[in-house]
């Protein structure tokens, strides 16, 4: 304590730390020192390192030194610090956590939150009399910046704190935030940013995100000639690594660990501007292992039903357990199974995003109060809200990514100097491989590399309209501002212009809408929003999260007097995705809110359900979609383990046996190869292959392969895909064709399938249409539909599917279609990853014709019947429906 220079940390803070028996951690002081030098800083630290306090310390110190405002009109002060969090709940949580030290030190600082829940009188007052520190979300920042008072409101801003930056930057919300940040730095050139992030492998992306990416940028406003970029903000290499307290570092504990050193960044005036970096080494080595069973795991499936008794025992033996699963439906299943075993009546709760908000809040409160023994949850609990005394984390199913699993493990023992205890529970044999790879990654503290995002054009369109609402802009200055945001650093002038044209009139080659333009260029070359109505439209549309439309699930009451009639009289259980409801037919049973429900139909935009009789098994498969595809990093490790028999020692014996069996019956491919197996079975011919690129990429591959097989007259009937591979089946003999034509498989898997075949499929693809719809909403082409809003009938709403068809035909290169294609590349279709795979396996396809199914192939074959077979061919579905009618007529 005594070695902290008083100039850095004022007495009142030092006294406070002392009174609590604490010492400021070195990274907190480090960050403070840098911030006080006026530098932007990225703090990378594991959970529990006191990240939030570190992030706010510079602001608290500065505000304390500044002294209280006397509140006179003359002395009115603007906002000092803006804190942005991805979650509304996190902002509220942080506000609460800040209050304690501030109250104890008696700091005269005003902290307020601003979220969608903030009442309008308070919002108005915040603009009138800004607090010292404002805690908010990216969407609220966008709204504030689109305000006519924005410039005045932010002019005194000193610091921006971005929490959970690693999770924000990977999405369109991150794009929107980056544009907001660029505007903040244009309004208030003195602003520096503090980014708070969990451990990431390549922090440089995040460091770039925090500082303007262009050396010299002029202000977007006419009438100001002083460029804010003239002050060089490029980073200076900062390589000292703060190790918390006396805890041995991970490097000391684990000899295999290589200490990650931050990449050298260019010295002052270098090419890529980056924020300074402060890294806190991980605390104690996590105590993490794979749950091994005596009995062999199934070859497929995601329910981990065999492991439930073991998980239950673990819950019983610990104080509080978080059971993480990957999907809502897995959560439902796990919750139900655990209760089936729950003879002790342990307080086990369920938490996922589709549950009714009040139900979720009750679980969160019970959890915080220490009343729960376990919570089964999905990604809704991934982010940093403090959960109290969790002493065990169980991850059921595939880990999917090294960083994800670290983040989840971090939820236990929220103090970094105690080891976290965690179990990985594989549900099938492939998941054993994935768990093994994830364990290795955790022990090496290796992380997935998040891909640098290229700023989405639909988000830019939204931002352009927002900025026009705030004040008039000139194209040149605004372009410079936009391209100072890291995701948009490579934005071309042409794309920028195309986005502006889109906002103005739709940007169509046929200039039909000039007279309806939303933003208009004046004689002074300044673009202005046309009228207040357009500004209002913008405010209603802001944000990048387009929820797949959800519909409420209401418990119905059966009428005794009229069997078969169900009245919508019960309570709301939560919400399900509209597209999920669309595939349900009356009588289908499915798991929801911890119960087996029977679908009774749609009534007034609500799904009406009744409780299915006890002992009913849900009919609708409980595994829905690969929400998180296997990360490329883990996939590569899985392929390596598979290819290297020396690695097999570290796998459970059942696994080794299975792999040996595969090697005898077929082969095991090398880490860069693609194994293709063909075999006949029950009058059909099958082709399986194992790219390990995740379910989404495999689905796209399956769609394209079936198209090509169709053209090759091999009569494909369908395909199934999982995270590891796909199986295509049909009535044509693929092996015979491959024997006749040695190039056949190479051609079948050639990269040109991403050309015309992909285009032809995209024309029809429901996934592509969904992607387009999201872009159209974000860009402001059509208005957002709000939850609870009734479908307004056929004349008022417009179907984006129809718009997609028309636009695709007439302007295939329109900016919105380009935005949708860019999304498809990484989103629901994962085309980018498929492309990488096709490139990797070029000339490395190993074809193994077999007379029957191999051990490896069994796993994906088992998905047939369990999984929905994908097809976007309407005629096929209709023909089947028509035939059903004929069957009925003939019966």
């Amino acid at each position: 304590m005594s070695d902290v220079p008083p100039s850095l940390l004022p007495k009142i803070f030092r006294d406070w730390f002392e009174s609590r028996g604490w010492a400021p951690r070195s990274h907190q002081l480090d960050l403070l020192a840098k911030a006080r030098e006026g530098r932007s800083v990225l703090l990378v630290a594991p959970t529990g390192a006191g990240k939030t306090l570190a992030g706010f310390l510079p602001s608290l110190v500065e505000l304390t030194e500044r002294g209280p405002s006397r509140g006179t009109a003359k002395e009115k002060r603007g906002l000092h610090t803006l804190y942005i969090s991805p979650l509304k709940a996190l902002a509220t949580d942080v506000a609460r956590n800040l209050e304690i030290p501030m109250a104890e030190m008696g700091l005269p600082i005003r902290v307020e939150t601003r979220t969608g829940d903030t009442p309008s009188h308070k919002r108005a007052r915040q603009i009138e009399r800004p607090p010292d520190i404002l805690l908010t979300t990216p969407e609220q920042l966008a709204l504030l910046l689109a305000h006519a008072e924005a410039r005045d409101f932010f002019k005194d801003l000193r610091r921006v704190v971005l929490d959970e930056l690693h999770s924000l930057v990977t999405s369109k919300r991150g794009d929107l935030l980056s544009l907001g940040l660029a505007r903040l730095m244009a309004i208030a050139p003195q602003v520096t940013a503090v980014g708070l992030s969990a451990t990431v492998r390549e922090p440089d992306e995040l460091r770039r995100y925090l500082v303007p990416q262009r050396a010299a940028v002029s202000l977007p406003l006419a009438g100001r000639d002083e460029g804010w970029g003239s002050k060089s903000r490029s980073a200076v290499l900062h390589s000292d690594i703060a190790v918390a307290d006396t805890t041995p570092s991970l490097a000391e504990l684990s000899p295999s660990h290589t200490t990650p050193t931050p990449n050298p960044s260019p010295q002052g005036g270098g090419e890529i501007p980056m924020a300074d970096l402060v890294v806190v080494q991980g605390g104690a080595q996590p105590d993490i292992r794979m749950l091994e069973l005596d009995e062999p795991l199934p070859l497929a499936g995601h329910t981990a039903s065999l492991s439930m008794p073991a998980i239950y025992d673990l819950i019983r033996a610990h104080k509080t357990t978080l059971v993480f699963v990957n999907t809502r439906l897995q959560a439902e299943y796990t919750f139900q199974e655990l209760w089936r075993l729950n003879d002790d009546g342990l307080a086990i709760a369920l938490h996922h995003g589709s549950l009714d908000v009040s139900q979720r809040r009750r679980v969160e409160e019970a959890m915080a109060a220490g009343k729960l023994k376990a919570v089964v949850c999905t990604a809704t609990l991934d982010l940093g809200i403090d959960w109290g005394d969790v002493d065990l984390v169980v991850n059921v199913g595939a880990p999917k990514g090294a960083s994800r699993i670290m983040q989840r493990i971090g939820r236990s023992n929220h103090r970094m100097d105690e080891p976290s205890e965690a179990y990985l529970v594989p549900a099938n044999r492939f998941e054993i491989l994935e768990c093994r790879a994830a364990l290795d990654a955790v022990h090496e503290a290796a992380q997935d590399t998040p891909d640098a995002r290229i700023g989405a054009l639909d988000v830019l369109c939204q931002h352009i309209l927002g900025m026009a609402c705030a004040e008039p802009f000139k194209l040149e200055g605004f372009y410079d501002e936009v391209s100072s945001a890291a995701p948009y650093a490579d934005l071309s002038w042409e794309d920028f212009e195309a986005c502006v044209a889109f906002v103005a009139t739709g940007g169509y080659a046929l200039r039909a809408y000039e007279r309806f333009a939303k933003i208009v260029k004046g004689k002074d070359d300044l673009w202005r929003v046309r009228d207040a109505r357009i500004a209002q439209q913008y405010r209603l549309n802001v944000g990048t999260i387009v929820e797949s439309t959800m519909i409420k699930v209401r418990l119905g009451k059966s009428m005794r007097s009229r069997p078969g009639t169900v009245l919508p009289r019960g309570r709301i259980l939560g919400e399900i995705e509209e597209y999920f409801a669309e595939t349900l037919t009356v009588g289908d049973t499915f798991l929801f809110a911890g119960e087996v429900l029977r679908f009774e139909g749609i009534s007034e935009d609500e799904a009406l359900v009744t409780r299915a009789g006890s002992g009913t098994d849900p009919m609708i498969p409980s595994y829905e979609g690969g929400k998180f595809p296997l990360s490329t990093f883990l996939a590569a490790r899985v392929r390596e383990i598979l290819a290297d028999p020396f690695e097999w020692d570290r796998l459970p014996p059942q696994m080794t046996e299975w792999l040996l069996h595969q090697r005898r019956r077929s082969i095991l491919p090398g880490p860069r190869d693609l194994l293709v197996e063909t075999f006949p079975r029950a009058n059909r011919f099958y082709m399986t292959c194992f790219p390990f690129e995740g379910r989404l990429a495999h689905q796209t591959l399956g769609m394209l392969l079936t198209r090509r097989l169709e053209r090759a007259k091999l009569k494909p009937l369908g395909f199934v895909a999982n995270d590891y591979g796909i199986a295509v089946y049909g009535t044509g003999d693929i092996a015979a064709r491959a024997a006749r034509d040695p190039d056949f498989l190479d051609e079948l898997f050639s990269e040109d399938m991403l050309g015309d075949d992909l285009e032809a499929w995209l024309a029809e693809s429901a996934l592509m249409k969904r992607t387009f719809r999201q872009c159209a909403v974000i860009a402001g082409l059509i208005e957002r539909r709000f939850p609870g809003e009734k479908k307004t009938g056929r004349q008022v709403t417009i179907s984006t599917d129809l718009v997609y068809d028309v636009l695709r035909k007439h302007e295939p290169d329109h900016v919105l279609l380009r935005a949708a294609r860019a999304d498809a590349a990484t989103g629901l279709l994962d085309v980018r990853r498929l492309g990488m795979m096709l490139e990797r396996i070029r000339g490395r396809i190993i074809h193994k014709p077999l007379d029957r199914v191999s051990p490896l192939s069994v796993s994906v074959m088992l998905e047939i019947g369990r999984e929905r077979v994908y097809s976007d061919d309407a005629d096929e579905i209709l023909a089947e429906a028509e035939a059903t009618l004929l069957d009925e007529a003939l019966a």
């Binding site: 889109f502 009139t505 739709g506 940007g507 169509y508 046929l510 039909a512 809408y513 309806f516 939303k518 109505r533 357009i534 439209q537 669309e582 595939t583 037919t585 139909g601 749609i602 082409l781 059509i782 208005e783 479908k791 009938g793 056929r794 004349q795 709403t797 417009i798 179907s799 129809l802 718009v803 068809d805 028309v806 636009l807 035909k809 007439h810 302007e811 329109h814 929905r868 077979v869 994908y870 097809s871 061919d873 309407a874 005629d875 579905i877 209709l878 023909a879 089947e880 429906a881 028509e882 059903t884 009618l885 009925e888």
Partner: protein, 233 residues
């Protein structure tokens, strides 16, 4: 204006009020006994109607709708063409029509009797649009009007934009369709941006008290689907 895809079975025969009707993949209906082609709910200039309110939909919908209209008209080459109302999305529609579209429309009208039945979106149509404007009309025993009216009378109407949704083993498709019970037919909307109302909606109930068959327009042909096979949205 458009090339027909080979092997497409573009028409589908049904019997309506005792006479043959050909249902076309474009959504048009041809009545050989009257040499008349019927289309419904063209909603020309819906795109520009939205643009006026700040939603800049691609301005190609009228063009797209005309392609389908011309395709049907030139193939059947009928003496009479009857548009069953809501041919324009709003009253200002005819005036906003682009030059190219105006010419195309004039071309397809040339040499035929062209009748515009008015609808709730286009109660008034300017003379410049060509053809004859009526509120409703009779064609033999059939009444043609925009909004279907319940009752025993044989009728062909539009207005409701019927679509049928079919779910088979977890796969769903939603398509425009003709609904008929043999006496009454509600035609699908032909407009490129015209949305649809699910055939299971209560609005159809009074029109077809004894049920109906839906003729769903697929990509290659039309499919007759029993009402019991249709799902709600």
């Amino acid at each position: 204006m458009t090339a027909l895809v080979k092997n497409k079975k573009t028409t589908h025969e049904i019997e309506l009020a005792g006479q043959l009707a050909l249902l076309d993949l474009t959504g048009a209906m041809y009545l050989p006994a009257h040499d008349a082609l019927l289309v419904a709910d063209l909603h020309f200039e819906k795109g520009s109607s939205f643009a006026r309110r700040g939603m800049m939909l691609p301005p190609y919908d009228t063009r797209e709708t005309l392609v389908a209209l011309c395709d049907a008209v030139f193939r059947f080459d009928p003496k009479t063409v009857i548009a069953l109302g809501d041919s324009f999305h709003d009253i200002g529609g005819p005036e906003r029509l682009g030059d190219e579209e105006r010419t195309t429309l004039a071309d397809v009208q040339a040499g035929r009797d062209w009748i515009w039945v008015t609808g709730n979106h286009d109660r008034v149509l300017p003379e410049s649009i060509g053809g004859q404007v009526v509120e409703e009309m009779a064609l033999g025993s059939l009444t043609l009007r925009h909004e279907p009216a319940a009752g025993d009378q044989a009728e062909i109407a539009g207005h409701l934009h019927p679509v049928g949704k079919v779910v088979m083993r977890g796969r769903a498709t939603r398509r425009r369709c003709f609904l008929t019970d043999g006496q009454r037919c509600v035609m699908p909307a032909l407009g490129a941006y015209a949305g649809g109302l699910n055939a299971c909606d209560a609005a159809f109930k009074p029109l077809f008290p004894k049920g109906f068959t839906a003729h769903l327009i697929g990509s290659e042909r039309i499919f007759a689907i029993a009402k019991s096979m249709l799902c709600r949205d």
